[in-house]
Structures are given as structure tokens and as C-alpha cells.
Symmetry: C2
Subunit: 704 residues, 2 copies
């Protein structure tokens, strides 16, 4: 009975969450749409975004089906017995489901975000608080949908295998590893395509608009301006949504696999714990979003949002305590005589491990804030370096980005080590590893709220663009500018959170891979493993090079298109003729989708090649060292990019001569360099490292 309750808990909460997202949606849907001009702009953005998403997902769908078929065939041909084909079909089907739900989450996010942007712009008329609530509640809709769909997919597969195929609980988690791979696969291309599009459009629009034609940002005369606004949606919104969909799916599956080892102690509860905790986290996130409504937000939108985050974190911690007590309770074998009686039960140790995870998520928010906010030394030192020119701005930002990897890595290492040690204190066989799993769950339990904050970014960015392009009154612009600044901060924080959680989840996924591939030692002193590790580290750099170059190439395509329009339609600059926004959007779409293929292939093929040529231990080397380097390089790229961005804003605030000073020109260079770093390469690396994990996990059988 209690077991049934647990098994149905996650799907029921997920469905309830989906229904509840409709409540939020209704609160948003009937809000006013603003003026005719605003609607016109929003309509252009929506049309462009939908066209991109349609084409992008068509391309991804083709690739997905090919890979699914390959999975089945490879499993069937390399397997030793007849069950290999069955296993192949199961993995392929799970892959398709993961891909499908990830795609669905992406489509919903995009459709909602491209409607809420207009509502938020219109709400700016009513002041900061109404626009803030509109953006955050609107952002909560995709956040809930993403979290709920991920839960529903995994718990649905679980129920399907248990009640339709009547399989043993211990056998189920490894059958759903394909789901994680599917989610990663779609996330890879969603993030690559979206990330390349958004920065190519941004850089392209700036190069011709600001620099060549001398018109301000978001000026309606720039044919690429709509493409730029579309980019915010397809990159930050759909891209990061797929990224975190993948994170939570992979973490859930990895933790369930490790939970199987604990069945002798906790029965099915250890396997279901990740799903239950995530479900409660979803509810906590909804409550957190609701608390962001106090009147004093008039002063500082970030403070209100941070309060919401803390509410979510505290609620999650309380839930973590009771869930641990209820589901992970076994007497410890280790004597803790000098501690209160409660410490002789495993529950308290796992609660503490989970708490480590929650605290890690808080730590990442603060580390990211320190390195990318203009309140502190890092950004200010970049602004200072800008006074001596472009080169010193770049050198300084590079140094700051690299420095930021120090605290990032130490935090992950301390968290990992503490969680492992706490897990060890349970005295349970395999309990130490499960400690790291619970910490990862703790960190990802707040994902619903973090996603809402993240969606807030592109929504307010778009709202600002709509207000600007529709020539709305000055006081509305002030509101959207304020929200936009907060949105930039939330976007940076989410990236810090995403990379931190990817790092923590990685160790858990390695362990799951070792369990799946049936070996325990990854010996770096073995020349094959060393070569695998070396290649893994290199692929991270090579992949980054490809993504950065892709932005450059796609941007130059856009530059040529804008130049063509300026040349052929002389009325554009005089304001007597409308630019052809759709043509610019169309050309950006095609360029970005073309460019996403090459890095995508490198990401997928390299671990498979290493695995087939050098064997399963070498893949483990590639996976682990690739992840280490990926986390560090992503932290560097994200934080350097964020710091450059805010150093520019800091100078625009009036320091070192303000706008149009020499320092500002140098700071603009840094900001432009940082764009592909933080919005294309960095986020693509988050996805890459998780893809490494889920791919090796799903294809473990091939490397044996």
C-alpha cells in the first residue's frame, strides 16, 4: 500500500503540476495586450520564433529517429543473445520518449514565452510590480511544464515496466537510461541551434546596426532587430529549458540506478526517493513563485526574487527532512555513541547530504553573483582595465573568468566530499555513493524556481525590445529596463546553477555508468584510459572552438543580409519603408541550423569512437576528465562573459567617462567577445558533459 502510494505520487503530482500551470497561464492569458504597435512587434517575434522552432525540431526529429534506429541495430548486432534486440528496442523507445518530451517542453516554453513578453510589456504601464509578477508567473508556466514532463516521463516508464511488463523494480532503472540519452540528445541540438542563433543575430545586428549604420540597439530600422529578439527566446528560453530538463532527467535516472543497490536496506523506497523529492520540490517552487508579490518590490526586483528562492529552498529542506526520515531510514552499522540517538539512523545522514546539495545551490548563486555583479572587485577591475584599451579589457576579463573556476571547483569538491563522507556514515554498502546522489537531488530540488527565474530573463528582455520598438512612453521603458537588468542577473545565476548541478550530477552518473558497464576501477595509469582522458579534455576545447566559430560564421551571413536590405531599400534608414524582418529571421534560422550540425556530430561521435576503439575503461576516462574540463571551461566562459557584460553596464552607469568614452568602447569589445562565450559555448558545454554521461550510460553495452 505504502509502496503504491509512493509509486503513484510522482505522476500524480506531475499531472497536478501540469494542471496548475494552466492556472498560472490563465492568470496571464487574459491580461491586456497593449497597443497595436506593441502587438505588431510581438507578433513578428512570435512568428519568427515559431518558424525557427518548427524547422529546428524538424531537423532534430530526423536526427533523433536515425539515432533511435541505430541504437536498436547496434544493440541487436553487438549483443550476444536474443534479448539484445529486445533490450535495443527498449532503449530506443525510451530514447524516443525522452526526446519527445524534451521537445514538447521546448515547444511549450517557447509558445508561452512569446506571449508573456507582450503581456509583460503591456503590464509595464501598471508599474514595476505588476510587470514583475507577470514575467515571473509567466516564466513559471514553462518551468512547471518542464519539471512535470520530466517527472511524468520517468515515473510513467517506471509504472509501465512494473505493471505492464511486470518487471522487478531492481531491473527497471537501467531500462530507462535511454530516456536520459534522448533528453540529452535533443538538448544538445536545441542548445546549439538556439545558442548559435541568438548570438549570431545579436552580434550581426550590432555589427551593422550600432557600428556601421550608427543606430541604437533595438532600433526598428535594423532589419535584424526582430531576429535578435527571437534569439532571446530560442537561446535562453528553449535552450536552457532543454538543458535543465536533461539535468533533472539524468539525475533522476542516475540516482535510481544507485538506489537499486540499496534495495536490501530501503526496498523500493530508495529507488523512488528521487522522484518523490523532485515532486515536492515542484510544489515548493510554485509556492515560492507566489511569494514574489509583496508591495516593496517597487524598489528592487532582485530582492523580491531572491526571497522567493529562499522560500523554495527552506520548504525543500523541510521536505527533505521528512522524506529522508520516512524513506531512507535504516539503522547504521557504525557506532555514533558520542552523538544523539538520531544519528544512529541513516535518515539523518542522508538529510544532511541533501542539505549539502541545497547549500551548494545557494553557494553557486553567490559565487556567480560575486564574479558577475558590478558591486564587486571582479567586474570593477575589468572596467578599470578598459581605460587602457581593448586589449587590457580582454586580458583582464580572461583572468577574471579563469580565476572564477577556483571557487567553482572547490565548492563542488567540498560538496562531493562531504556528501560522500556523510553517506559513508550510514554504514550501508553503497551508501556513500548514494550520499552524493542525495546531495545532487538536494541541489536540483529547487530547479522549478530557478527555471522560473531563468525564463524571466528572455521574457523581460523581449518586453524591453517590444516597448522600445513600439515607441512606448518613457516611464514604461524605465520599468522594462529595470526588469531587464534583473533578468540579466537571473540569467547569469541560472548558468552558475546549471554548471554546478551538472558537476555534482556527473559523479553520480559516472558511478551509474560503472554499475551498468560492470567494472569498478578507472585506472588513469592504464595507457588506454589516459589516452581516453586526454581526448575527452581535448574534445571539450575543440567543441568550444566549433561553437564559437559557428557564431562568427552565422553572424557574417546576417551582416550581409542586413547590408543588402539597407542597400536595396533606401527608405529604411529614413523611416519611410519597413525593413523585411522575416527575411532576416529566415536567413538567421537557416544559418544557425546549418552550423549546429558539426559540433553536434563531434559531441556524439567522439565518445562512441573512443569506446569502440579503446574500450569501456577508455570511455570512462573520456567521460570523467571531459566532464572535469567541461565544468571548468564552462565556468570560465560563463563568468568571463557575464563579467564583461556588466563591466560595460558599469561604465554606462557613468564610471570612467560613461557612454561613448574610450573605456566604454573597450568595454563594448569585451561584451561582444563575451556574448558567444556565455550564451553559446558555455551553455553548450553544460549539455555536452551531460550528453557524455547519458550517452555512455545508454550505450554501455556497445563498449563491452
Amino acid at each position: 500500500m505504502s509502496s503504491y502510494l509512493l509509486e503513484f505520487f510522482a505522476p500524480v503530482v506531475a499531472i497536478a503540476g501540469l494542471l496548475y500551470s494552466l492556472v498560472f497561464w490563465n492568470q496571464v492569458k487574459y491580461a491586456p495586450d497593449g497597443t497595436h504597435e506593441m502587438k505588431k512587434v510581438a507578433n513578428a517575434i512570435r512568428t519568427g520564433a515559431q518558424a525557427f522552432i518548427r524547422r529546428q525540431y524538424q531537423a532534430i526529429a530526423v536526427l533523433t529517429v536515425i539515432v533511435a534506429v541505430l541504437i536498436v541495430v547496434l544493440y541487436g548486432l553487438t549483443g550476444s543473445d536474443e534479448s539484445a534486440w529486445t533490450h535495443g528496442v527498449e532503449t530506443g523507445a525510451a530514447f524516443l520518449l525522452g526526446a519527445l518530451l524534451s521537445g514538447l517542453a521546448g515547444v511549450v516554453s517557447m509558445r508561452v514565452a512569446t506571449r508573456v513578453n507582450l503581456k509583460c510589456a503591456a503590464a509595464a504601464k501598471g508599474g514595476l510590480n505588476s510587470a514583475l509578477q507577470m514575467a515571473l508567473r509567466g516564466g513559471a508556466v514553462p518551468a512547471i511544464v518542464i519539471t512535470a514532463l520530466s517527472l511524468l516521463g520517468i515515473s510513467g516508464l517506471y509504472l509501465f515496466y512494473k505493471f505492464v511488463f511486470l518487471l522487478d523494480v531492481a531491473d527497471i532503472p537501467k531500462l530507462i537510461v535511454g530516456y536520459g540519452f534522448g533528453a540529452s540528445f535533443v538538448a544538445l541540438f536545441a542548445q546549439l541551434g538556439g545558442g548559435i542563433y541568438t548570438k549570431a543575430a545579436d552580434v550581426g545586428a550590432d555589427l551593422v546596426g550600432k557600428i556601421e549604420a550608427g543606430i541604437p540597439e533595438d532600433d526598428p530600422r535594423n532589419p535584424a532587430v526582430v531576429a535578435d529578439l527571437v534569439g532571446d527566446n530560442v537561446g535562453d528560453c528553449a535552450g536552457r529549458g532543454a538543458d535543465l530538463f536533461e539535468s533533472i532527467s539524468a539525475e533522476n535516472i542516475g540516482a535510481m540506478i544507485l538506489g537499486v543497490a540499496l534495495v536490501p536496506y530501503f526496498g523500493v523506497k530508495g529507488v523512488l526517493f528521487p522522484l518523490v523529492l523532485r515532486s515536492i520540490g515542484l510544489v515548493a517552487a510554485i509556492i515560492g513563485v507566489y511569494t514574489v508579490s509583496a508591495k516593496d518590490t517597487e524598489k528592487n526586483p532582485m530582492r523580491a526574487m531572491t526571497r522567493g528562492f529562499w522560500v523554495t529552498a527552506v520548504l525543500t529542506t523541510i521536505a527533505l527532512y521528512f522524506c529522508s526520515r520516512w524513506m531512507l531510514n535504516a539503522p547504521t552499522d557504525i557506532l555514533h555513541d558520542d552523538l544523539p540517538a538520531i544519528f544512529s539512523d541513516s535518515a539523518i545522514w542522508y538529510f544532511l547530504a541533501g542539505l549539502v546539495g541545497v547549500l551548494t545551490s545557494v553557494a553557486f548563486v553567490y559565487i556567480t553573483d560575486y564574479y558577475t555583479s558590478k558591486e564587486y572587485r571582479p567586474v570593477q577591475s575589468i572596467a578599470d582595465a578598459s581605460t587602457t584599451g581593448h586589449a587590457t579589457n580582454i586580458i583582464s576579463g580572461t583572468a577574471i573568468g579563469m580565476e572564477s573556476t577556483g571557487l567553482t571547483v572547490l565548492t563542488v569538491c567540498v560538496a562531493l566530499f562531504c556528501a560522500y563522507w556523510l553517506g559513508e556514515q550510514t554504514g550501508i554498502d553503497g551508501g556513500a555513493l548514494y550520499g552524493t546522489a542525495v546531495a545532487t537531488m538536494g541541489m536540483l530540488a529547487v530547479v522549478g524556481y530557478v527555471l522560473s527565474m531563468d525564463m524571466f530573463g528572455p521574457i523581460t528582455d523581449n518586453a524591453g525590445g517590444i516597448v522600445e520598438m513600439s515607441k512606448a512612453p518613457e516611464e514604461m521603458r524605465k520599468v522594462t529596463d529595470e526588469l531587464d537588468a534583473a533578468g540579466n542577473t537571473t540569467k547569469a545565476l541560472t548558468k552558475g546553477y546549471a554548471v554546478g548541478s551538472a558537476a555534482l550530477a556527473a559523479f553520480l552518473l559516472f558511478s551509474a555508468y560503472l554499475t551498468e558497464a560492470q567494472f569498478e576501477v578507472v585506472d588513469l595509469a592504464n595507457v588506454k584510459v589516459f589516452v581516453g582522458a586526454f581526448i575527452g579534455a581535448m574534445v571539450v576545447f575543440f567543441f568550444t572552438s566549433l561553437t564559437i566559430r559557428a557564431v562568427g560564421r552565422a553572424a557574417s551571413v546576417i551582416v550581409h543580409e542586413v547590408r543588402r536590405q539597407f542597400k536595396e531599400k533606401a527608405g529604411i534608414m529614413r523611416g519611410t519603408e519597413d525593413p523585411d524582418y522575416a527575411a532576416a529571421v529566415d536567413i538567421s534560422t537557416r544559418a544557425a541550423l546549418k552550423e549546429m550540425i558539426m559540433p553536434g556530430i563531434v559531441a556524439v561521435v567522439s565518445p562512441i569512437l573512443v569506446g569502440v576503439v579503446l574500450g569501456k575503461e577508455a570511455v570512462a576516462g573520456l567521460l570523467m576528465v571531459g566532464t572535469i574540463v567541461g565544468v571548468i571551461l564552462a565556468a570560465y566562459l560563463n563568468n568571463a562573459g557575464g563579467a564583461w557584460d556588466n563591466a560595460k553596464k558599469y561604465i554606462e552607469g557613468g564610471i570612467h567617462g560613461g557612454k561613448r568614452s574610450h573605456a566604454h568602447q573597450a568595454a563594448v569589445t569585451g561584451d561582444t567577445v563575451g556574448d558567444p562565450f556565455k550564451d553559446t559555448a558555455g551553455p553548450s558545454l553544460h549539455v555536452l558533459i551531460k550528453l557524455f554521461s547519458t550517452l555512455t550510460l545508454a550505450l554501455a553495452a556497445l563498449f563491452m
Copy 2:
């Protein structure tokens, strides 16, 4: 008898080499010194360089003595028996000897280079060929001294332990690991101090001179111009000299340790093989330098130097063949029936492994050339990107640098794998690892010639500066410009070679560490090892950040000094008053020496901390993954920097508008960003990764 011959071979050749360097020196010493103006400039450079070296080595001497005492105490206190103190003293003494000889090599290099620069400038009057020969033969003096001193130190220690302490041959190599650590320790600070000095002076001189005052490079009115020329000597010359002194010392010691395992097969010959091969390589390098004298060098200095490299490589290969046949001959246990009879002896397999090493050195020369020469796509694409501004120049260079890690890593992996496989074919226990050792020896056998080419760089750079500052005739400037361009290429090639050999040596040094620390498996799935590995990767980034920032800070000190002089001595700009070069040199020296401390401490302390807190396996994780990441990041920094540099020169050749065009301004930004990348951070990373190896090897006892 034959054993005695072998044991005394290396010291005799080393002493003969040192004597022979006097022959080269005499050829150079009595060459004419040029005009009074040239002598005056050269004198200022020499005085500045010697002042820097004196202060730098004083600081290093203090640190070295402290560390030597710490080694003795730590060994004594943590050891379990009385022999611990003895072992501590032995290691400490070897450490001091390694440090002393490395320092001596540095001082000699510097003194020679700061005399040859003037001779080369004066020889420019006689045309390209006489100046080329002067620079290369002058550069050969320190190259021979460095190689010979390294050999002499190791073979001297060997003889000392064998004939004074009457120790068993198998026990000796591990007693001289301290020597390698001493060499690394000095190299770390020599490279850090020199690298920071050279780029701080360069960037500082450019920022005030070119940008603020609008005077050309090497203009005698710039007070920092002498500091800039001093920097070429202390960075490229003393720094890289110490770097490669360390490489060959560490490689010799590591290979000797692995050779001990092969005593049952080859007796003492396997232990002495590295010393003998290196000795012959030294002779081959001297012959190689002599061949660079043909008349057709009038056309292209690089072609003549490349021919000398090939002569050295071919001679080395022949020597390798006969040495293998003579010293590494044991019948193989593996049947190679389908191959000629020669393949049933281990000698041929080791010869092939050594050949892999020689070919790897050639491959690295070509890879570096591809990525940093203006003949090929990479540099040209950066030049193209410069037409759209500073930011696209930086983005493009970043992408190229990251791309270059691909071929770098694949080459190392293929070499490592082939050498290991070839070693495996000998059927000898431990023979596979020794295969990687022989490959490393093969790669480093040509080090004498490569070092001559490297010293050629700062000598010709200085010669150009002397000619420019002394207002010598136009035709002399043309000669030195031509040589300077070739010198830039040789400097880039040496860096590629240095990073490649460090990578290859690394695997060998890991294996030596595992032997010393008495364990065989470095299990990345162990949470401690994983944390160690994560920290190792992070330290590489953090250290890079510190070195880059150090350049920025030291440069700003120089900027302030130059501004002060311009303000206080109004006659400088009018040409009526001499600037105070010595004050600028002095201030640069103090700034650079202050800045070298912090990265140095991070480099030394982090592996010790990880070792003491997390144990010997965790250090191995730090060492291996730190090395992987260090090699990749160094390749990125070196190649991006070299490519930016030549993209600027490519544009200056007349492409995209030539000098003073917008594209050129953007390219100057890239060049300035690349300066600390390629001349400070990258080379410091070469040293860092070898320091990790030698430090862990020497302190292995502490982590157990």
C-alpha cells in the same frame, strides 16, 4: 669494462661539449662590436639583464634553500626509521644540485645572449648570412651549456653514488629525483619572473609609447624600451633555457627509474641508455648547427635552419638505431614469425619507439607552423575577422587557439599509444612503459638544436632593437628585420616542441611516480582521486589567471614610471634629454619579481596540500589531469598568441588596408592580448606540469 665505458660516456661527452661551447664562443667573441651607439645600447641591455638576473636568482636562492631544508625536515619527521633523515639529506642535496646547475645554465645563457645580440647587430653589416650564422652559433653556446650541464649533473650524481657510496645501480635513480625537482623549482621561478617581466615591459612600453605618445616601437625616446629589450633575454632566453633544462633532466631521471625495472634484461645498460642517447644527441646538434652556413641562406633564413634541424634529426635517428642494437637487445618472448628475424629482438622495437619520438618532434614543428604561420588558413582567418573589429579578431583567435588543441592532443595520443604498443612487442615485463620512455628520449634527443633555434629568437630580436635604437643604416635594419621574423617563427616552434615533449614526458613521469610511491592503480572512480583530479585541472586555470593578471599589474607599474619620466623630463620627447632607462628597468625588475611569488606558491603548495590531505592516489589524480589540462591550455595559449601575432604581421604586409587601417588596429589588440598568453602564461604552464611531476616524485614519501 663495457659498463664502465657506458657510465663514463655521458660525463665525458658533457665535459667535451662544454669545452666545445668555448670554441663556438671564441668564434663569436672576437667578432666586431659595431659602432659606439650600438655598444651603448647593448651595454644598457646587458646591465639591465644582469641586474635582473642577479636579483631574481638571489630571490630564488633564498626560496631554494628554504625548500631544501623543508625537504630534509619533512622526510626526517614523517619517515618511520633512521634512514629517513639520510634519505632526506640525499634528496635535499640532489635538489640543491639540480637548482644550482639550472641557475648556472640560466646565468651563462643570459651572459652569452646579451653579448651575441650586439655581435649579430654588427654582423648585419656583412649581410644576412653572416648575421644568421652569428646568431645561430651564438645561440648554440647556451644550448650546449644547458644540455651538457644537465647531463653532467645527473651522470655525476650517478657516479658519485656508485663509486663513493658504493650503492647498487638499481637504487641510484630514485636518489636523484630531487635533482629534477630542483631543476623544476628554479625553472618555475625563472620562467615566471622572466615571463612576467618581458611582457609587462612590452605591454607597458607599447601602452605609453605607441598608444599615448604616438612614437614607434623601439624608439629611443621611450624610457621603457631598454626594459623591453632586456625582457626578451630574461623571458625567452633564460626562461625557456630553464624550461628545457628541466625537461631533459626530468625525462632522464624518469627513464632511468623505469630502466631499473629492466635490469634483469639489459643490466645497467637500460638505466644508462637515456644518458648515452642524450650525449649523442648533443653531438648531433653541434653538427646540425654547423651545417647552417650555405650561401643560399641569403634568400630564406628559415629554410637553412630547417635543414639544420633535419640533419640533427637524421643523425639522431641513426645513433638511436645503433644504441638500441647495442644496449637494448634482448630476445622477445612474443613470436613474430611472419616478420624478418630482426624483429625477434627487442632492440628493433625500441628503435621504432624512439623513431616515433623523433617523428613527433617533427609533427609538432609542422602543427605549430600551420597554426601560427601567415601562409595558412588559421592566421588568415584571424586577419579576415579583424576587418569587422576588435571583438571579432579576439573571438576568431580564441576559436583558432582552441581548435589547435585537437591536432596537438591527437599527435600525443597516437605517439603514446604507438610507443606503448611497440614496447609491448618486446615481450619484456615493464617493456611497454619503457617504450614510451624511449619515445620521449627520441623526441628530446634533438633538444640541443631546438634550443639553439630558440636562443636565436631573443638574440635577433635584440639585434633588431640595437640597430633601430642606434639609428643604423636602412640596409642593416632590413637584415635584422628578416632575422627577427625568422626568430619569431623559431620561438613559436620551440614552444610547440616544448609543450609536446612535456606531454610525452608526463606519462613517463607518472609511471615513475607510481613506481616510487608503490602503487599501480589511479582509480578516477575513487572520490578522493576524482577530487584530486578536479583540483589539478582547476589549479591550471587558476595559475594561468594569476600569471596573466601579474603581467597586467606589472605593466601598469611601468606605465606609471614612463608617464612620470615624460612629465618630469620634458626634453625626452624633443630628443634633447636622455630618458632614465635604468630606472625603468629597475622598477620593472622589482614589479616582476614581486608578481612571480604568488603563482609560484600556488604551484608548489597545491600538490603538497592535496597529497597530505587526500593521500598519494589523489596526488596522482591531480598530477595526471593537471598535466592533461596544462598541455591543452598551454597549446591554446601559445598557438592563439602566435596566430594573433602573425595575423597582425600579415595585415602589416599590406592585406586588408595594411598598417594604420581599422583591421590593423583590431589586429594590434589581438597581438597585445596574445603577448601574455604566449610568452608568460603558456610557457609557465610547461614548467608547471613538469613541476607537478618532479615534485610528486621527490616528495612521494610524504604522501604515503
